[in-house]
Each structure stands twice: as C-alpha cells, then as structure tokens.
Symmetry: C2
C-alpha cells in the first residue's frame, strides 16, 4: 500500500452566505473564475485550491456533525515582514473581517494578528523570521 | 494597501492528543523533523505547512471559542485515479482513521471517500478528472 503524499489539495470553507463570503475574499484581492450563480467558488491558491461552499452541504458531504462554531482548524497566511502583517490585517478589516487579535509580537519570536472572516473562520496573518517565503509565496520550514 | 496574495501558508490542526495525532500522520507515510517532545509538529506539505498543536492552545491563540466538534472546514487530498482513492482510504483506516464515507462515485463526476483522523478532522480523498495534478502533487483548476 503506497504512502500518502505529504500534501493538501483543497481546503473547503463552509459558509452560511456564499455571496457575502465570495465578496469578502474578492475584496482581499483574490480572483475566481466562478460564474456569479455557481454554488461553489474555487480560488487557485498556489499549488492548491481554496473553495467556498454551503456549510450544511459540506457537513453532510464530509459525513460529520456540525458543532456550530470553530472546529479546531486555523489557517495562516504568512508574509515577509511585520509591516506586511499590519497591512494585510488592515485590508481584511476593511473587507469586513473582525480583528480577533491585533498584530503584535508573538511568544514564538514572530509577529502576527488574527482576523475572522464573515463566516467565522479565523486566519492568522504572520511573519515568521525562521520560515522561508519564496517569490511565488510558497513557504518552507527553516 | 496591497492586495492579499492568493495563498495559504499553514493549516494548523488542533489536537487533543499530540502523540496520537503525530503517529497517525506518520503512519500515512508523512515525515517531520520535530523532536519527540516538541509541542508542535510541522509537516512540509508541498509549498505550505501542516501543523499539529494542542487544540485548546490553538483556540486561545486564534481568539475563538471552541464549538467542540467540526467547525466548517474540510481538507481534501486529491489523487490520480479512483484506485488511488481506494488505496489512500485503506491506508488511513489501517493507520487508525474512521471511514466516514466509503469511496464511491460522486455527484460532481468524480470519485471520493472521507476518512476522519483520530482527532476528528475529516479529509476527503478524491479523484477529480477535471483538475490537473502535477508530478509534485500541486493541483490546478481545470
């Protein structure tokens, strides 16, 4: 039985209001080829894909019960400097996110803040001086 | 204010039992440079990173309330054929996952199954004939 390749292909974010969610990510500067009335919105995100889909449908398709809140997964978006953390968090706030943790130095020696998207999904925006960010945005452990 | 690059750097999975979670992902064939007693385990996953960390710490760090169950995010691992879906799901089951949805044809024209890792995080294992998988495992929308 072959080993499972060490990678993630797709992250699907369950949403209560697809139009609101889509507008939020587009307001960050993201673009999609989804048609206006598509019921799933796919964003190419480097070598993987981020999708927005109805949360109840996603729970059923994932064969899980929806706990209703946060469920133990947090995404992070790493950037190249503390100033860029501030800029991304500010842009997220302007796009409609709630700032759950304002940018500040962290216990692990970096600098980060957390915004929560309009659907309740938190994103940490971080500068980690030990990780390597390539020009294409891919991240490598230091 | 610059646009936010369209990418994810890090997915952190909150876990109740770090040793159990680490053994599960290692049993899939994943490898980490984390020391045996590290309290965070990082896996390089293509151009991004997957981390395992204590779920209560992650909730606090993310400034969110833990709903206790699934929280509206499902990950997927795409492979190159229906047979490979079967193989990955079987390997996950042998590693200790619960099979929440056995592999079968899907409504969107692909083939997939869902396993739930020992910490309650569902993964869809999918073959989507319309998406392009490169040799390095990166996925591109068709």
């Amino acid at each position: 039985m072959a080993e499972v390749e060490q990678r993630v292909s797709l992250i699907t974010l369950g949403v209560a209001d697809l139009g609101r969610a889509r507008r939020f990510y587009e307001a960050l500067g993201w673009s999609t080829n989804a048609a206006p009335d598509d019921d799933v919105v796919f964003f190419q995100a480097g070598g993987m894909i981020v999708a927005l889909w109805d949360r109840a449908n996603l729970a059923e398709d994932s064969a899980v019960e929806d706990g209703g809140g946060w469920g133990g997964i947090t995404l992070a978006h790493n950037v190249r400097s503390p100033a860029e953390v501030d800029s991304v968090v500010a842009r997220a706030e302007r796009a409609g996110a709630r700032i759950a943790r304002p940018p500040a130095k962290t216990f692990w020696g970096g600098y980060s803040g957390v915004f929560v998207d309009p659907e309740g999904h938190p994103w940490e925006v971080a500068h980690n001086p030990r990780w390597v960010l390539a020009k294409d945005g891919s991240v490598t452990l230091g």
